[in-house]
Structure formats: C-alpha cells, structure tokens
C-alpha cells in the first residue's frame, strides 16, 4: 500500500481498547466506583491501517459492534485512540483543534443535533453563529441546500412536526452549512423509506462532486454503499478484513455465482449442474461454485436446449453476510490460511 502524504486520513495500527467499568448496583457502589473501579478491557478496534484521499467516498461495513462506529469516532476526534498513528486533515483529531473541527461535520442517523422545538431555519442561524459563517456565504449555502433537498416547505416548521425523513434532510443541511471538507455520516439513512434513502444518497454524491468533499460513511444498507462508495472497508471484530472496491470484494469473497437459464426442456433433474435455488417452468436459477462457473456453463449449453443464459454475482448482501459469518477467519478460506487473532488484520487489497 502506497503511503500518500496528501492523504486526508492516515491511520496506522489504529487500536482502541475500551476500559469498561464492572459496576455493582446501587448509588453507594456507584460512588465507590468513582475512586476504585473494577474494569475489564474490550478490544474494539485492533490495529487497522488505511489511507483516505481527498474526494473519496469510503464506506465502512460491519455488523453492530464490529468497531466501525468506534473507528469513525476516533477519526472525528470523539474517541482517543489507545495506540497507533492517526492524522486526519493533518491534525491529531482527538485534540479537537478549532481549525480541524471547522472542516469536518458529523451526521448520525436517528440522532438530532437541531433543536427539537424550534424550526430548522432558526437552528441554522445557530450553526451560523457557532461556525461564524459570513452572512453572504450562509445565505447562498442555505439557498442551495434548500433547492437541492426541497427544504422550502420544511424550514419554518418546528422540527418535531416533521417526519423522520424530512428531519434527516434538515439535519444533513444543518451539518453542511459551513461547507466541511470531510463528512462523517454514521448510518445517515437509518429508518428512512426507500425513496428518501435514494434522495439522500443522490444528495451526498452531489455534494461530494460539487465541493470535492471526502465522505466517510457507515451503513447497514448495502444499497447505500453500492450506490455511493468508490471504496469499502470491511471491519469485523475490530479487524480490517477488506479494503478495496466493491467489485473486488465480491470477486474475493463470493465463492459462488448464480447461473440463470431459460430452457425449452423444463423437466429433468438439474441438480447435477449445481444447487437449484429457484425453479419455475422454463426458468431455473442455479448456484455454482465460482471456479466451476465456466465449466458448468459449457456443459449446460452443450447438454440442454437453452434459450437464454446469464451468469451473475450474488447480491452484495449475501457476500457481506458470508464474510461476517466467517468471523475471525479473515479473507475467504480458499485465499489464505486463517490468521491468528491478535495479529494485524488484513491489509486489504493490493
């Protein structure tokens, strides 16, 4: 992996150990725990390394508790790394220097930074005061965001009168008023309906291109990641299992392909070609080990009256689920031998 001095994020062996208090119940015990705490350590992020360049949209994938939020929080300066090197925009993020904070923003799905009781427009004014945004620039940005996100009918209503999706649009607008260079989006589409998800995705893409902003995104929704991310980091059990493009992820981790055939001979046993997933008259969907795809295709074409045949990668969800199911095992089993836990996680592709 090349070490890029122009990298916006530079992380080497980044590690976070949580010291969790083991606490008995009761106020007395709680007070005692102020002075003498029993703790145990939890390894949340285990020596992960990566660089992110300006303008990239990077997706963090991982199940709950995998360490992706912890990683994002370290990058945003909210958590102090236990060990390793970390530079974000050239700053050590945990010091939360003003120049650093002015260039970043944070959006967390289902959590609101705008004030609940007042209209979003007033909350925007507050952001303007906090970031000391010049009035002209502020007006321009609000106008632009209002148009892009259709905020006009929403801005004057108290936030609590808006739907979840409308609120999220306001949240995102509020987080971008100071035109940050680096966006941390933690599950930004959580709980939104499909139309609204798409809307927000399109907007993120637009913002990324318009301002050449770097976007770090974590999401459960594969659709978010598929639509947005040039690059994906898969984190599981605190380790970086994969770092690369989505296609490459499928290439490396999916051990199966799906072959769909239309045939004129609907009868007959097809299980000798592969696992039959779906079958209706004339149409069959087969799951075939990746390495045998070519061979099976050849045989199908030779032995059956085929009308149409397509070979497809399995859906990303399935691939990712398989990676998570493998747990500690590291990269795909046919790729590399199992790594001992505790050693550096996968350095990722190339």
């Amino acid at each position: 992996m090349e070490s890029d001095s122009a990298a916006i994020v530079h992380a080497r062996d980044l590690t976070k150990v949580y010291r969790v208090p083991v606490r008995e119940s009761g106020l007395g015990a709680a007070f005692r725990s102020l002075f003498r705490r029993k703790t145990r350590d939890i390894l949340a992020v285990n020596r992960i390394s990566f660089d992110i360049r300006e303008g990239e949209i990077v997706g963090f994938l991982g199940p709950n508790g995998a360490g992706k939020t912890t990683t994002l929080k370290m990058l945003a300066g909210l958590l102090y790394p236990t060990s390793g090197t970390l530079k974000v925009l050239g700053y050590p993020p945990w010091k939360r220097e003003k120049h650093f904070l002015r260039q970043i923003t944070l959006v967390i799905g289902n959590r609101s930074q705008l004030v609940w009781d007042i209209p979003a427009a007033d909350s925007f004014e507050l952001q303007r005061a906090i970031y000391n945004i010049p009035r002209d620039q502020f007006r321009e940005t609000v106008a632009e965001l209002t148009e892009l996100l259709d905020l006009a009918p929403l801005l004057r209503k108290p936030l609590r009168n808006l739907s979840l999706g409308e609120r999220m649009k306001c949240e995102i607008a509020g987080a971008l008023l100071h035109r940050p260079r680096l966006l941390f989006l933690d599950e930004p589409t959580l709980g939104l309906d499909v139309t609204m998800q798409r809307r927000i995705r399109e907007f993120i893409k637009y913002y990324n291109q318009r301002y050449h902003a770097t976007v770090l995104l974590s999401s459960h929704y594969m659709a978010d990641v598929e639509a947005l991310c040039d690059r994906i980091l898969v984190i599981h059990h605190g380790q970086l299992l994969f770092d690369g493009e989505l296609d490459e992820l499928i290439e490396r981790f999916s051990t199966y392909k799906t072959i769909e055939v239309q045939t004129r001979a609907p009868e007959g046993d097809l299980s000798r070609y592969g696992e039959v997933i779906e079958r209706s008259d004339g149409y069959v969907s087969l799951r075939v080990p990746r390495k045998e795809t070519a061979k099976v295709t050849e045989r199908l074409l030779a032995e059956l009256p085929i009308i149409d045949l397509t070979v497809e990668d399995p859906p990303v969800e399935e691939v990712v689920e398989r990676i998570f199911a493998q747990g500690h095992a590291g990269p795909a089993p046919d790729e590399e031998a199992e790594r001992a836990p505790g050693t550096a996680g996968g350095r990722g592709a190339s």
């Binding site: 102020l34 300066g77 945990w94 939360r96 967390i108 609101s112 007033d122 507050l126 005061a129 906090i130």
Partner: protein, 258 residues
C-alpha cells in the same frame, strides 16, 4: 457571545409562540413571591429583627434569592439538564465537534426565557428594599454588591456544572440536582439563623450562603472585605475546579483517561 445572543433570540422566538407560558410563569413567580413575603410578615410580626436582619434587609435577601434562582431556572438548570441527557443519548458528540468551547456551549444551550421574570421580580424587590431602607448610595457599595452577586452566580453555576459533569461517570445524577434545588431553598433565609453544622454545610459543601446571604450583606453595607474576598476566592476556585472536572470527564468520555 455571538452564539449566546443567537441562542437567546431563537429561544425568545420560540417562547413568544407560546405566550400562555408567560402568564403561567408570571403567576407561578408571583405566588412564590407572595408566600415568601407572607413568611417574612409572619416572622416579623413576632420580632423586629432576625439574626441581626431587619425586615427590609431580609426583603433584599429574598430579592437576591429570587434573582439568582431566576438565573438558575433561566439558563443553568435547563442547559445542564440537557447536557446530562446529551451524555445519555450520545448527542453530546455534536457539541464536541463544534469549533467553540464545548463547556460554554452546553452551559447555555437551553433557555427558559420566562424564568427571567424571577430575575426582574428579584431586582424589583431589591430596589424596593433599598428605597425603604433609605440607603445612602455609594459606588463602593454598588461595586461590592455587583462583585458579590457575580461571585454568587459563578459559584452556583460552577457547583451545578460539577454536579452535572458527574454524569460522565454516573450517567444518572438528576437526583443530586434535586437535592441542590431543595437546599437552595434554604438560601431565602440568612445563613446565620441555621445551626453551626448546617451553616458550615451551606457555606462550603453546597455553597448557598455565597449565592444569597453574601450579596444581600454587601447590598445592605454589612459585608466585611474578607467575606467578599473569600467569596471571590471561592468563585475562582470552583470555576477552575469545574473546568478541571470537565476536562477529566471529557477524557473519560473519549477513553483517554484509561
């Protein structure tokens, strides 16, 4: 300051939309005041002096009590309760990524504008008592009073801040603050009327004495310089302590203290 003014404006706009709240609050303040005065009248129907305080001097004390109480209700309590919720809900992260001092920001993030009626009532009471006492005005006395009041406000704020910051460790500390609220009620009477141990507690453990008795003494020209000095020292010390605990709390929150 810019942020404060914007917050104030935004909150004012919000409260103006719910004008009935104003009347409810005004009614509450007035009845609170009426009971306080009734209590005073009752006491002074038996005696002309309480612990060396004449009736109008004590009225001035009630004025200070209202003014400081109003300040707490206006900004300190709502902001710090919001802050404790922020810790629980994880929304504190938003304050921490802002390029302004996070302690200042959380300390003024929420306001209840109508609580300022208490401050106005308090000021009115103070003015009325001064008029009744026929006090001779001097800049020295005004200065002393202003200093004592500022000390009192800082001490109360710092105390609340320290209590609220404990939420970093304890998560639920609202109960502690309820205790403070009831102890603050003790501040409506001069600290001298309480038995020794309670007096010590109200001076040093829960510094209510500095918030009400000392400013009222300064106002009525009975504050010894050393008391004012002690109050100022206490204010500075508590402010610094609050900041230290805040910093430790943040380090704990971000896991840097481990």
């Amino acid at each position: 300051m810019r942020v404060f003014l914007t917050l104030f404006r935004v909150n004012l706009l919000f409260e103006l939309a719910y004008r009935s709240n104003f009347f409810v609050q005004a009614l509450e303040s007035l009845s609170h005041l009426a009971f306080s005065i009734l209590g005073l009248a009752l006491v002074y129907s038996h005696t002309a002096e309480l612990n060396g305080w004449s009736v109008y001097e004590l009225l001035a004390l009630v004025g200070v009590f209202f003014a400081i109480g109003g300040l707490i209700g206006f900004i300190i309590q709502p902001s710090l309760q919001q802050f404790m919720q922020d810790i629980q809900k994880g929304t504190l992260d938003f304050a921490l990524v802002k390029p302004v001092d996070a302690q200042l920001l959380v300390s003024m993030q929420s306001m209840r504008i109508w609580k300022l009626t208490d401050v106005l009532l308090g000021a009115g009471l103070i003015g009325f008592s001064m008029w009744k006492l026929q006090t001779a005005w001097s800049w020295l006395r005004v200065g002393q009073f202003a200093l004592a009041l500022l000390d009192g406000a800082i001490i109360v704020y710092s105390f609340w801040m320290i209590m609220a910051t404990l939420a970093f460790w304890l998560i639920r500390v609202e109960n502690l603050l309820v205790i403070f609220e009831s102890l603050y009620e003790a501040g409506r009477w001069p600290i001298g009327i309480y038995p020794g141990w309670l007096r010590m507690a109200l001076t040093f453990i829960v510094p209510v004495a500095f918030a009400t008795t000392v400013p009222a003494r300064a106002l009525t020209g009975r504050a010894q310089p050393e008391v004012l000095l002690a109050a100022t020292g206490m204010a500075v010390a508590l402010m610094v302590l609050a900041r230290i605990i805040w910093n430790i709390g943040l380090r704990h929150y971000s896991g840097a203290s481990a």
